[in-house]
């Protein structure tokens, strides 16, 4: 186990964390500000991937695909909010879960009708393929390095928007006390639609980047959504900062567990036991972590609401 190997796995973990962050940021905004459980967030991620692939294939340009993914999910997100979710804010969480679960089924079938059930795959443009040489002979896929950079940049932009702009002020105010924000004459409905749209576009961005590495297929959103919920619970519902920290922790812990748990266990346990225990434990690790955080800080690491 060399330093280079550990470092490369750390990068892998951060890259996974950044993807989770983009999804968690949108979801935590919606959950924290609108008090709305949106299971269909993964569907927007899926749509982002499909929009990116289709537009890129149609135009031959990755950048056009990226724009289509962002704009497309923004529009679909806002439309979904206007048509379906708006009626759900006053309902309890169970109704919201049921309705947004219905949306998952709807979007999955819709995608299957338009694009078919067969998995799609994007081809990376030449300028994003290949590897970069880091120090100590570490070769890292260039695209994954770009994902890390884009994710961290997005985090900075989000931080700026939320803490330094008027929109961000309203968002924070909405997270603390939405009745008061409404009473002060802010169009809370419009604010909700905008926030939901931006959350959707963030999911679209995650889908766009994931679509270049992962299989693009109906139902791809649900596979990652569970991890995203873990991130939100660890980070604290409604907190962007919590989403970032939680996502990086989950990404790194999950990756490190998969990579190093087996050799570590193998040092103390007989090989056969380590063989069976390591993969089982590695896939449980983030849930154990979540349980630990819930036990020590029930509201998550960064509490957003009073």
């Amino acid at each position: 186990m060399t330093f280079a190997l550990v470092f490369e796995q750390l990068l892998n973990g951060i890259q996974l964390g950044v993807m989770l962050f983009l999804l968690a940021a949108g979801l935590t905004l919606v959950l924290g500000i609108m008090n709305m459980v949106n299971l269909a967030h993964g569907s927007l991620y899926m749509l982002g991937a499909y929009f990116a692939i289709s537009a890129a294939q149609w135009s031959g340009s990755f950048l056009v695909g990226a724009l289509a993914a962002l704009a497309g999910t923004l529009v679909v997100g806002m439309l979904t909010e206007l048509v379906a979710l708006r009626t759900l804010y006053q309902r309890d969480h169970l109704d919201q879960v049921l309705a947004t679960f219905g949306l998952i089924l709807f979007f999955n079938e819709l995608v299957a009708i338009f694009w078919g059930r067969t998995a799609l795959f994007a081809t990376l443009p030449a300028y994003l393929a290949g590897h970069i040489e880091l120090f100590a002979g570490i070769r890292y896929p260039f695209y994954r390095a770009v994902v890390i950079l884009v994710g961290l940049l997005t985090a900075i932009v989000l931080w700026y928007v939320v803490t330094r702009t008027r929109l961000g002020m309203l968002i924070r105010a909405g997270a603390s006390n939405r009745t008061m924000v409404g009473a002060l004459g802010v169009n809370i409905r419009l604010l909700y639609t905008v926030v939901f749209g931006f959350g959707a576009a963030l999911a679209g961005l995650a889908g766009l980047m994931a679509g270049q590495i992962y299989t693009v297929q109906p139902g791809m959103g649900e596979l990652i959504l569970i991890q995203v919920f873990v991130v939100i619970v660890i980070g604290g519902i409604g907190s962007i900062r919590g989403a970032l920290v939680g996502a990086l922790i989950v990404g790194v812990v999950d990756t490190m567990g998969r990579a190093f748990l087996k050799p570590l266990l193998g040092a103390v346990l007989p090989p056969v036991t380590a063989d069976t225990a390591a993969p089982a434990l590695a896939s449980m690790l983030i849930y154990l972590l979540m349980a630990l955080v819930l036990a020590l800080k029930p509201a998550g690491l960064f509490q957003a609401r009073g």
Partner: protein, 396 residues
């Protein structure tokens, strides 16, 4: 049945039926219940199978064994409980004469007792559950596919024969994953540097690929069916390992995954009993007409399903359309007297084919609709029997 009169009536009816002369039971139509997965990401496998069944019917002129045939398709949604429900519906509501299909071992294990309980024959056209080849073998169960272990056994033999050492093994962490590795090890006796079991349905293999590269193995064996394999292989190629370390697989690279893998598939080694390139008249006709009709290359899932309908056809012919004669049907099926897509073969005592296995290699091929073909690299096994038939008490 709480009503004693109904019970009595049913008893009388059953007695009357059993005394009915054979000609009385002669029927005008044959109904086949075909269960597969038609929804969800795995629905593509079901599509291959359904298209193949329909092509088989077309080749037979709409008649199976001389009877006008109807196939009722059912979707198990990749779930054992749904599979059981669908089977019950077919047996009771649709009154099917014979059952076929089923992709997944767990669905087959759940469904088979229902079919056998109704006294109907099940022609499995994919699932290769080991209990059904061994201790739980059943007179009413026939397979036109294989036992799960056979493909990894063939690959293990090939690796052993070619003197490969320092093998790195990856599979999902569930029963079939471990079975595949066990099958591999039955014939591969060389060194295994690492056995890595990953989470079921995992998306990203970057961490595993990083760890793999650090171990510097001479060859890599994977079992990653469906989406997992597409992910893994794409990332393996993206990591630049395709030309450095040969990648061997079972149930991973086939015509259902090649359209997504595209060029990433090229150079892949797979072990299997069948490929579209296999040279026998039945298979040639099937592949050519399939490509013409549907515009894509059939997979082994499809070939086995086509084969299943042909097997049923031969049995119904042998009993002259009297499909109620289950004993006669079983006896006829045991002869395997039909042009199979694998060429002539015999059934083992456990109703599983004794057949040849090949190592295939994915190569560029402009003639194929996908641009890629699974070529036969080498025949590994002649008349290969599965590892479980001795546990099967059935003698015939």
């Amino acid at each position: 049945m709480r009503n004693p009169f109904r019970l009595l009536a049913a008893g009388v009816a059953a007695a009357a039926l059993s005394f009915a002369p054979a000609s009385f039971a002669q029927q005008k139509q044959l109904k086949i219940g075909f269960i597969t997965t038609l929804s969800g990401p795995q629905g593509v496998i079901g599509k291959h199978m359904k298209d193949s069944v329909e092509l088989a019917l077309q080749h037979l002129g709409g008649k199976v064994g001389g009877l006008p045939a109807e196939v009722v398709f059912g979707d198990d949604q990749f779930k054992p409980d749904v599979g059981v429900q669908v089977a019950q519906q077919m047996l009771q509501r649709d009154q099917v004469d014979i059952m076929a299909g089923i992709i997944w071992s767990n669905v087959m294990m759940a469904t088979m007792p229902v079919v056998a309980g109704a006294g109907k024959i099940m022609v499995g056209t994919n699932a290769g559950a080991s209990p059904l080849a061994g201790a739980q073998c059943n007179e009413l169960y026939f397979s036109t596919s294989w036992n799960n272990d056979q493909s990894p056994e063939a690959l293990g033999k090939h690796l052993q024969d070619t003197g490969v050492s320092d093998l790195y093994v990856l599979a999902p962490n569930y029963q079939a994953g471990k079975d595949m590795v066990a099958g591999l090890k039955r014939y591969y006796k060389g060194k295994i540097v690492e056995e890595q079991y990953t989470k079921m349905g995992q998306l990203d293999y970057q961490a595993e690929i990083t760890a793999l590269r650090a171990k510097n193995p001479k060859a890599v064996f994977i079992f990653y069916p469906g989406g997992m394999g597409i992910q893994f292989i794409r990332q393996y190629v993206q990591a630049g390992l395709r030309d450095q370390i040969p990648l061997y697989s079972v149930f991973t690279v086939d015509e259902t995954t090649i359209p997504a893998l595209k060029d990433a598939a090229i150079g892949q080694y797979e072990a299997r009993f069948w490929t579209a390139e296999i040279d026998n008249p039945a298979s040639k006709k099937y592949v050519a007409d399939f490509r013409k009709k549907y515009g894509y290359t059939p997979s082994y899932y499809g070939a086995q399903s086509y084969d299943g309908i042909m097997l049923i056809d031969s049995a119904v012919k042998a009993v002259k359309g009297n499909v109620k004669d289950t004993k006669g049907m079983v006896a006829a099926m045991r002869k395997a007297d039909y042009p199979s897509i694998r060429g002539p073969f015999k059934f083992n005592n456990n109703h599983h084919p004794i057949q040849d296995f090949y190592v295939l290699k994915a190569v560029k091929d402009p003639k194929s609709p996908e641009g890629i073909t699974m070529n036969i690299e080498k025949k590994v096994f002649d008349d290969h029997k599965d590892a479980y038939y001795k546990d099967c008490k059935m003698k015939w």
